[in-house]
Amino acid sequence: MHTDAQQLDTRVRVVTPENIAFQYHVAGPFRRLPAYLIDLAIRVTAGLVTLLGLSLAFGFAGLGSVGLGIWLLLFFMLTWFYGGLFETFWNGQTPGKRIMRIRVLSVEGQAINASQAVLRNILRTVDALPFLYPLFFFYLVGLVSATMNKRFQRLGDLACGTMVVCEEPHWLKGVARINEPEVLRLTPSIPARFQPDRSLARALALYVGRRANFAPARRLQIARYVGVPLREELGLPQSTNLDHLLCALYNRVFVTEDTPEPNGPPAAPPASEPASGASPFAAVAALALGERGDA
């Protein structure tokens, strides 16, 4: 079993066969309950509609009880195998889960197989305890079980080695551009060869990403810690606004200006070839990650 000792919050790391670690947010009860309720509503509706349809169809043929028998079989399937079949054929999702953007995966991060999908839904009976006949389930067992492990797994998930993860859509945005005139004026005074180390670059990116949430005074207060030493290092006047300084540094490091740089741009790797899909960084990745047979 893949356990991650570093897990701090609801993010779990998954290592792919390509030796890349990516992250998932595991879905908590408040994400899964609406999905369950949607599925329940769909099941009840489907049950009523098929009952109506079958009894009408077979009723006209004078075989009402055959229709009832078929419906009872359907009802049995809906009760016990609705989730299992959907999760098998929809790759870990039921309609409710799809609407709530969650998906069942095995704890290793791979798609679940049919046995896992069917079993975790049959073991739901235990997780739903205690219940008031016929429809009111309290899900206390599942809730207690989910609070006692890092991946919010109910008993059925524990037995099958599955977890439910969120599929948040993230849209690809470009690099943030700061077009405030003060910043644009300040940017040329930063040397073009300015190369921050990795932690400083990350701090700059985080700061620029979040500064919109802060009032100017708070921006200055936050910017002071990095800004004051940098202002001295770059020999800028004391009057330089530290917030604008950080933005200008960010522009210099992350954003390409239209004006050509005096010292020439740093040697750029060859442009990637989308048709082959091979990244120019794949070779570097292979070097960085040790000997791997994939490129």
Partner: protein, 331 residues
């Protein structure tokens, strides 16, 4: 190379991968032609490489989150869930399940508990009417007596179709619930087994004392073996999971549970099939006007097939052992 250049260079690849993911999600793998599939794989590897180097190339957090999501989405399409394969299922049902059940101590326990309590409850109900009243309940007793007050051949064939659906839904439902309850350290399954056994034994014992006993046994003889065996199997397979939490064979409790749970799935399939067979007999043979000898023949046939399944197919043949098999058994 600045980050903004890098993003511009990559944007095309990433959105192409996103498009392919969207197509795969909505239409499935079979609709994609071969070149698109290989392009998908190449783009996925390239996105993986970008994610690996995201930190080194100081990509913004937002982009890293986007990449995590993109790689996860593509990964889910590339490594899809395996569907049911008929051939592996036949093999599991005819080879693996009987061998696993034959040596499984949880199934033996379920067998002994079920039949022990069943016989005890039956005999006690037969001797002492008030015992049956306590176990079965007055209302249920009256219901069942009413149900068998008529000879069993009155129903029309269409009604039997309805009953078949009812028997599958009701009985397999009881079996699956009994199976799931086993997960509670085996205790839940044990309690459910004892309840079922006491109730059924009580009904059998009580009905034997009444005037309707002829009708009753006329009805239950044919489907009894399959149905009662299926209940024992369900309880045993469930308890196997529960006991795996207690007896871990050196694994962690969760790992031990997972191993037992995955093995119990084909057993579940087997008992659902058995319930369906029982329902078929219960709907079409048991209530028919066939003479008792024929129904007794079905009874004997059921027992012979069960023995064939569990003993002949199940006798250990030196294959690897499954969880919970008796280690001192020599094959």
């Amino acid at each position: 190379m600045k980050v903004s250049d890098l993003l511009e260079a990559r944007r095309e690849n990433w959105s192409a991968l996103e498009q392919l993911c969207k197509q795969l999600e909505s239409r499935g793998r079979r609709r994609l032609d071969a070149s698109a599939v290989s392009r998908f794989a190449a783009l996925y590897r390239s996105a993986c490489a970008d994610l690996a180097l995201a930190d080194a190339y100081q990509l913004p957090q937002e982009t890293i989150r986007y990449l995590h999501q993109l790689v996860g989405r593509a990964h889910n399409q590339l490594y899809r869930s395996r569907l049911f394969h008929l051939s592996t299922w036949t093999r599991q049902l005819l080879v693996d399940v009987p061998q696993r059940l034959f040596g499984d101590r949880a199934v033996r326990l379920a067998f002994v508990v079920f039949w022990g309590i069943f016989l005890l409850s039956g005999v006690l109900s037969y001797i002492r009417p008030d015992f049956a009243r306590h176990v079965v309940g007055k209302e249920t007793q009256a219901q069942i007596e009413e149900m068998y007050s008529q000879p069993v051949n009155k129903e029309n064939p269409a009604f039997r179709g309805a009953m078949m659906g009812f028997y599958v839904a009701h009985n397999a439902g009881i079996g699956l619930r009994c199976f799931a309850m086993g997960l509670l350290f085996g205790v839940g399954g044990l309690v459910a087994t004892i309840q079922n056994a006491a109730l059924l034994g009580g009904i059998f014992g009580h009905m034997a004392t009444t005037a309707q006993s002829g009708n009753f046994f006329h009805f239950v003889t044919a489907h009894g073996p399959y149905e009662l065996t299926a209940i024992v199997m369900a309880a045993g397979a469930g308890m196997r999971m529960g006991f795996a939490l207690l007896e871990t064979h050196g694994l962690t409790r969760i790992a031990s549970l997972r191993r037992a749970a995955i093995q119990s799935v084909p057993i579940m399939g087997a008992f659902v099939v058995l319930f369906a067979l029982a329902a078929l007999i219960e709907a079409f043979i048991s209530p028919s006007s066939l003479p008792y000898e024929v129904k007794f023949g079905v009874f004997v046939f059921s027992i012979v097939t069960l023995v064939f399944y569990f003993v002949f197919l199940g006798y250990p043949r030196g294959h690897r052992r499954a969880v919970g098999q008796n280690p001192d058994r020599r094959s």
